[in-house]
């Protein structure tokens, strides 16, 4: 098997799986689950293989495929791995089987359709990460929303229609602006080079005037910021999370939110470097506001899912803060934080799903003292909580530490030039670790500690985790600790791409050799 075809196989495996799924009888959900599990596990194996084969320190794309698609517009089917998407692809492939395994017992309605949607979603998400052609990227970006709407809309909670609509309105609004910017870019390429092209590598070379850059970045940034989500474009997230089924929440928090930050990393900032620098104070402010605002909101929620949803807002604020530090520490930290958040928030949503399956309530007030009756569950919940508050040796710490260090590192020279603002923001962001502990420990205390209290638990007879659930969580926890303890392998593989990112956004600083 040639290496590039392995990447194509990775991408199209869910499609093949989906086609096979059609052949299975609706009456045999076990077969449907088994097949999906098989397909996604195979995908994980391929992704892991690709990760191991990926060479660190090599510039440019690896496992590249480039085939003309719509020749007249210069559109190519162009995919490839680089340091920016490598870890996210791995994360997506890692979460896939866990999502299906997590939905073994919770999804009983339209099982086939559900797994088809999950597979389709997997395909589109991987496509978005892998696309090296803006047109292809856009197609995947939009296609991704369809299965997500359906997953929330069909298997969601009571207010699912409202949540779906809100999700749709927000994202559609962002997409339209992005489409306009994409079209404009395409025309610019045509007029500057004489040949149409959507290749992202070509677009990096465009020379755009600053006002145009600002306009286009606005178009892209709104779309991405909605996905991230950054305050004040975040209100769709809690609703979507609360109404989505567990699998939906996991994918949403685990992968979908990373699309926004990945968009900034891959497209938004490097395509429009001058505008990015102009926007940096704004984005940095919004990132820090997101950290604090999300933490504040998470503190006053009584719906467990909402707490975790708002914590996502807070955690992705760190990612954005890292991205706009434009130095290796910060951006590397941001990438790690993306992966970490995917694992941690995904895991927490899975755990909420598990307790919801048992007690049918997401109200924090209805619970208490679960540590007594569900010891294994509590251990895992505690571990995930620790990762969420960024305790050292967990992935959360690796991400947050590098991000904050990077932000501080970027802000200090500015402070010496007399610019206090970035330093103040970087320092304020550090407060986030206090506030994070505040709301997560409140959640733990109310849920696990105190006197025993749980709805639908007659006489405290709650079933502790099954082997399947333990397996899912153990995999997550292992990954979390692996990144917390040995992040170096990840960092080495992403470093070259991050250096190029810095060179594109801040050529003069990169030229001075400041990393």
């Amino acid at each position: 098997m040639s290496e590039a075809s392995a990447l194509n196989l990775l991408l199209f495996l869910p499609v093949i799986g989906g086609a096979l799924l059609l052949l299975l009888p609706e009456r045999r959900p076990d077969l449907v689950r088994g097949l999906s599990m098989l397909v996604l596990s195979a995908q994980l194996v391929i992704a892991a293989w690709l990760y191991l084969q990926f060479e660190a320190g090599v510039s440019g794309l690896q496992f590249e495929t480039r085939i003309p698609w719509i020749a007249a517009w210069g559109v190519h089917y162009h995919i490839g791995l680089d340091g920016l998407n490598l870890l996210l692809v791995l994360l997506t492939a890692f979460l896939g089987p866990l999502v299906v395994a997590g939905a073994f017992t919770s999804i009983t309605k339209d099982v086939k359709l559900f797994h088809g949607m999950v597979l389709f979603l997997q395909f589109t998400m991987l496509g978005t990460f892998l696309a090296q052609d803006l047109f292809l990227f856009y197609v995947f970006w939009e296609a991704m929303l369809i299965p997500m709407f359906l997953i929330i809309g069909i298997w969601g909670g009571e207010r699912r229609i409202y949540a779906t609509l809100k999700f749709f309105l927000y994202t559609a609004f962002g997409s339209i602006l992005m489409l306009a910017a994409v079209v404009y870019l395409a025309f610019t390429v045509l007029s500057q080079d004489g040949t149409p092209s959507f290749a992202i590598a070509d677009l990096y070379l465009l020379e755009l005037s600053v006002p145009v850059q600002v306009l286009l970045l606005t178009g892209f940034a709104l779309s991405f910021a909605i996905k991230v989500p950054m305050v004040p474009l975040h209100t769709w997230l809690p609703d979507a999370h609360v109404e989505a089924p567990t699998a939906g929440s996991v994918i949403l928090a685990g992968v979908l939110l990373k699309m926004g930050t990945y968009g900034f990393l891959k497209l938004g900032f490097p395509l429009f470097p001058d505008a990015a620098q102009l926007a940096t104070p704004l984005i940095m402010t919004l990132a820090v506001v997101s950290i604090l605002y999300g933490a504040g909101l998470a503190l006053v929620q009584d719906d467990i899912k909402k707490i975790i949803a708002y914590s996502s807002v807070s955690h992705l604020g760190y990612v954005m803060l890292g991205l706009v530090s434009y130095n290796l520490l910060g951006v590397q930290g941001a990438i790690i934080q993306m992966v970490s958040h995917g694992l941690v928030a995904g895991g927490l949503f899975l755990m909420v799903g598990m307790i919801y399956e048992r007690c049918h309530s997401r109200d924090l007030g209805a619970y208490g003292g679960l540590a007594k009756v569900l010891p294994v569950y509590s251990v895992f919940f505690m571990l995930l909580t620790l990762a969420a508050i960024g305790l050292p040796t967990t992935s959360g710490f690796t991400g947050e530490f590098l991000v904050l260090l990077g932000a501080f590192h970027a802000a200090w020279p500015l402070y010496e030039q007399g610019l206090t603002y970035p330093l103040a923001l970087a320092s304020a962001a550090v407060l986030g670790i206090v506030l994070g502990a505040l709301y997560m420990l409140r959640l733990v205390r109310r849920l696990l500690f105190g006197g025993l209290q749980a709805p639908e638990a007659q006489g405290g007879t709650l079933r502790d985790l099954s082997l399947r659930e333990m397996g899912i969580l153990a995999a997550l926890v292992a990954a979390i600790f692996y990144i917390g303890l040995f992040p170096n392998d990840f960092l080495q593989k992403t470093e070259q791409a991050v250096i190029e990112y810095q060179e594109r956004v801040l050529p003069e600083r990169a030229a001075e050799g400041v990393r």
Binding site: V300, F401, H409, S427, L431, R445, G450, N488, L491, E495
Partner: protein, 626 residues
Amino acid sequence: MDGMLTLLVLLPLAGFLLNGLLGRRLGTGFVNVVGVGLPFLAFGVALWAWRTLEAGDGAPIVETVFTWAVVGEYSFEVAFYLDRLSAVMALIVTGVGALIHLYSIGYMKGDEGYARYFAYLNLFLFFMLLLVLGRSLLVLFVGWEGVGLASYLLIGFWFQDAAKARAGRKAFITNRVGDAGFLLGMFLVFTFAGTLEMDRINEAFAAGLIPVGVATAAGILLFIGATGKSAQIPLHVWLPDAMAGPTPVSALIHAATMVTAGVYLVARLSGVYLEAPAASTLIAVIGVLTAFLAATIALVQTDIKKVLAYSTISQLGFMFLALGVGAYGVAVFHLFTHAFFKAALFLGAGSVIHALNGEQDIRRMGGLARRIPWTFGTFAIATAAIAGLPPLAGFFSKDEILWFAIASGEGGALWLWALGSLTALLTALYMFRLLWLVFLGHSRMEPETERHVHESPVTMTSVLVVLAAFSVIAGWFALPQYLEPLLALPEVRFAWGGWHLLQVIFAVLLALLGLAGAAWLYRDGGRPADELWQRFRRLHRVLAGKYFVDEFYDRALQRPWRWVSDRVFLRLGDRLLIDGSLHGLAALARWSAAAFARVQSGSLHWYAWMTLFGLVAVLIWVWRYV
């Protein structure tokens, strides 16, 4: 030998994993062997490491384990670093730690979470060793946060009591506030020194290439971290609440080891503080104020463990006073002696509580001296030690601190000494008060409790005896001189050495005064003292209320933040402004859609006519303009 330090650190981790995963299933025998045996083994390894260190004449041993991360030109390595300072700390941690593990066998007997308890305790030991042995600030921070976690878990060990769980959370969050400062200080140091390895940081600062302002800022920020972990003003509020945990935990974590991490940090980074006199002054001031205020609070507490908690805060204040005046070795000396007598005191208190079946209120004790003689004997020795009676351990270290508070050439001042001396007097007073109220006089116990009073098992008393013995002899090691190559003592301002002798005599007099005062005030169940307090009722209320710091934080920080989160963020921001405008837009869209929908009448003729009209318009436009 290679891997010695790694082995030392990994032993307790192995204990944690074994006990955590298998302990419940394999029973207490297994738990005891693993949970207690491994810490003793670790102590043995620590001794061996110390011997190796001394064999190399104190040259630091560095052991790189693995590279955590390489980012660009920066490399973050996990490496252990053993010099005399960390060797002393490691010996204290493993030594006192192992003893307390042993003691716990008796204390925790029959508890539901027996295995869990030992797992947590081993976990604590692991992180504490990381903290002490880490070469880089990063590893130290890992340990720092890790001991915080272990502390959180152990304070909330009886998690079904919501108040105890809440105390754990409070400890963790207060520490996190300090950690935020720690992180910032770490970033600042990193920005200038380009490394997080502490020996290299010290070198970089000592080279004088770094501006004083930066050194001061970094020093203060790191000290904020230290105030969190070492319970100094203004972050001291968590420690008294932390007494909710099992008593051996209070002895190990909240007296002997973890809370001294801040002292260790400052001593370890003495290179930074030597360049930042302003930060040092701040440390001295905070230290002496904490020592004094905590001592005043300890005077009126009625919970045996709370008294000891405030005593710990006060003693830590002494250590910071020493650090602030540049006497780093002396601070570590006091840390060393304090570990023994405070552990002895806490374990003695634990033994009392054990004997009284959970009773903690000293107003319902008294006359226990004859009933539990071993406990009384060791407790009395430790009390004398902390009060500073010669020749016990506390006398030497405290005397040195007071001496340098006035004599140090690096920030010694009369008022520091005066306040410190006053605190020493108060220390003697409240400690002997405790001794009198608990062990002497006549019994004020409930009859039901009194009938069951019993001496603790030998696993507990033997530990008490060992600790008491060390409380006696620990002061005879000249630790400041031993550490001198590493942590130079400050210059003495006075030319005539006789001043020191005078100060020693004065300190002893103060301790004796405290003893006499306590004996007089707290005879007869403390009635004379009560009468005295009647006259200063308001003062008593303030002291008993711990200066109302908790209430102040609640009103000034916690509630406003909740209020802002709830009202401003949630109700105003999310619901009103953001969702409100979104819903407004939706309503606008619906309204305009309704307007447009009228065009769609359903009449085919009308549609066709509109097509016709549109066609005409298009044709006209095309022919006119294209």
